[in-house]
Amino acid sequence: MIKNIKLQLNHQEIELYVHPLKRLLDVLREDCGLLGSKEGCGEGECGACSVFVDGELVNSCLFPVGKAENKQVLTIEGFRDTVRYDVLRESFEEAGAVQCGFCSPGMMMAAEGLLRRHPHPAEQQIREGISGNLCRCTGYNMIIDAVMLASKRGDGLW
């Protein structure tokens, strides 16, 4: 039951001809050639595939593309052109929040989602905010420092 699906991908109107049950992650990676969202588990456990759909952070590996119809999808490829991204990037670099990097694009999306909700988060709020994103390398604390730093440095941006 392949059909036409229209959505906004990174601020651009696109039209896809796909099965509405195809995972958004596969659509992004295979049909749109956007490889920044990663598949770490395919079961909604790791958050490496995190994207925004109408401003809400979702695991694109569990999200059928049909549900994104007529909605706004923002991936790391769209987010990385923003000022907020730059502030987060600098903070992640400075805090040493990246090792192997496989969790990192998803972690950036989670950090953005968190800062949208809580522009000045407390430590515990950050822990909760990124608790859907697994990182096996860093032990998380340097990521938490990074988000803290970004919230200070980007004061007023969120």
Partner: protein, 714 residues
Amino acid sequence: MKTDISAPVKRDDVADKLAGLTCYIGDMRNEDMLYAKTLRSKEARAKIASIEYPVMPEGYFIVGKNDIPGRNRVKLLLEDWPFFAEDVVNYIGEPIALIVGSDKAVIQELIAATKVIYQKLEPILSIDDSGLLPIYGETNSFADYSFGKGDIDKVKRIAKYIYEGTYETGYQEQFYLEPQGVIAEFKEGKATIYGSLQCPYYIKNAVIDCLGISSDRVRIVQATTGGAFGGKEDYPSLLAGQAACAALKANKPVCLLLERNEDIECTTKRHPSRIRLTSYVDEGFKLIGLEADIVIDAGAYAGLSGVVLQRAMFAAAGVYNVENLRVHGKAIATNKVVSGAFRGFGSPQAFFAIEMHMEHAAKEMGVDPMEFKLQNVVKKWDKSTTGGIFRDKNLLPEMVQRVTEMSGFAEKKQTSKKPRNDNKRRGIGLSMFLHGCGFTGNGERDHIKAHVKLAKNSRDEVEILISNVEMGQGINTTMKKIAANALEIPIERVIFINPDTDRVPDSGPTVASRTIVVVGRLVYEAAIELKEKWQVGAVQEAECSYQYPEGYEWDNDSLSGDAYTNYSWGVNAVEVELDTLTFESKIIGVWAVFDIGKSIDDRIVKGQIDGGIVQGLGYASMEVMENQQGRFKQRSSTDYIIPTAMDIPIIQSELMCQPYSGGPFGAKGLGELTLVGSPIAYALAIEDAIDAGINSIPVRPELLMEVMADDKKY
């Protein structure tokens, strides 16, 4: 430029990683690439009577044991592990064949439609199963070693206290965030394999054997690797061989990527262990003798079990000086997934046993555990378990002092004893440990023989040519720092590219906490040589090969001498709060001091410390993986739980360093050390909270219930 080598510099891999621009193996695209999926055994042990495949559509292929032009054995220590099962299968998940084609969904259907007819055999499911047909040799063990020193029989007669205990540790899954994968292609008679991997030359050798072709016709290129932790030391050799055979048969590039749950269920894990210790102590509370019997569950094939076992055995006495010692170890074959490398490599198991043992022995004798331990700690010029010499000053007593201050240990020990009027109890524990850096025994000298090269171009940029890989641990930064510092040039003029065996010499695998201490040293020496002959604008090279340091000795037959040339040290404290109704526990604080000789980059070092400690805490607490009838109960990312940001407190860590003259700038190994101590400190903290002995990890609520119901406390 000559700078403070420890001062953090910017990692130049980070911007692309954050932006999603880094190309991992799953991001590589090739027009006519085919995909492969694995047909796997559903039985723990069986003869394959027959396999009924559906008709393959045009462009789809079956690749199995008969498609291997060379030898159907993965080249590791022993020669028993097939790329594809032959007549028998030995574990659930063992690869039987690949099905290859352009559409993954079609491949899945073809696999589902394939019928394997098994004749079941009685599987060996535990290290205690006996009387069954051996999987390997006559005794069913892949390795069986003994060594000792002094006179243990005499000690048995004169000891005032004798204390015995048995300690068990479970499986642990590496859970690198990026699942395993390789892409193989064949062009003009040459196989090229791209992959997420730690050891390019291990794979090259395995593929040479598998295809039966000459060395110049196999090339391995590392793709940026999304975490490994030992899990990509052995298994990628198997995947690479399989994919290479598929590419040969299909005459197209073939991509073999594992899915997460397939990776959890079928690839190597940390060895479960059972360690029995008997210690002999004199009236002055000196540890005068120790007997250790170590059994590790190796799974269906030998893999790296022999060397994992050796590392565990050499660590049997922990950080303690014991003059009379007898150690026996066995790696037993079972019809389960092959156990393999995981950060620490046998050492976390052995340290858990000895640290818990020392604590329990002290409590039994009625002395303070910390005093008892410190009294028996090795000192400079003491001998190691294998009779090697500790040549450098050991800072452990100062490190313990510092960790107790940082954590408020004494005070917390007191409060944990005070009754509370809620159902919470607190506890704190402290561990002391070391890690021998570099390969065990004669590995570096006789097997690896590392070789490095620096190549300077006419723009006076210097490329580091080594076979060690960046996998998150930061070596593309630390190696560049070492070279830049020695050459006295800006780091921007040093180049490090993911290794390609057609370009880099064999500097050995990225394992055993050897990259900085061994390979980094060679890079340093080559840089010094290059600096001396430096000619502006000239194309120049400098090379350096590993030399076994003078004054060290190792005998591999008797397992005696210097098992390692240098040791890193650590002290960890962990505080927990336990709910006595639910038996759930929460980690309240973690404090750590490490001696790594010299930090090559403080920020990268902290990343290793935090990451290793958290993996260790997972190992001791929530990372439960049980095997039932040959099948893992926790075989998906939903069931196998690793720590999230919610499970971890702030980790306070410091360095206290005794430089090693054989390492670059005095640096020793770091990566594995960081995982060894936190599981122990966690278990001791729980023990402190419940005032009863813990003898196994992971410490699950069910285990605690049992322990607390038991009258015998330690």
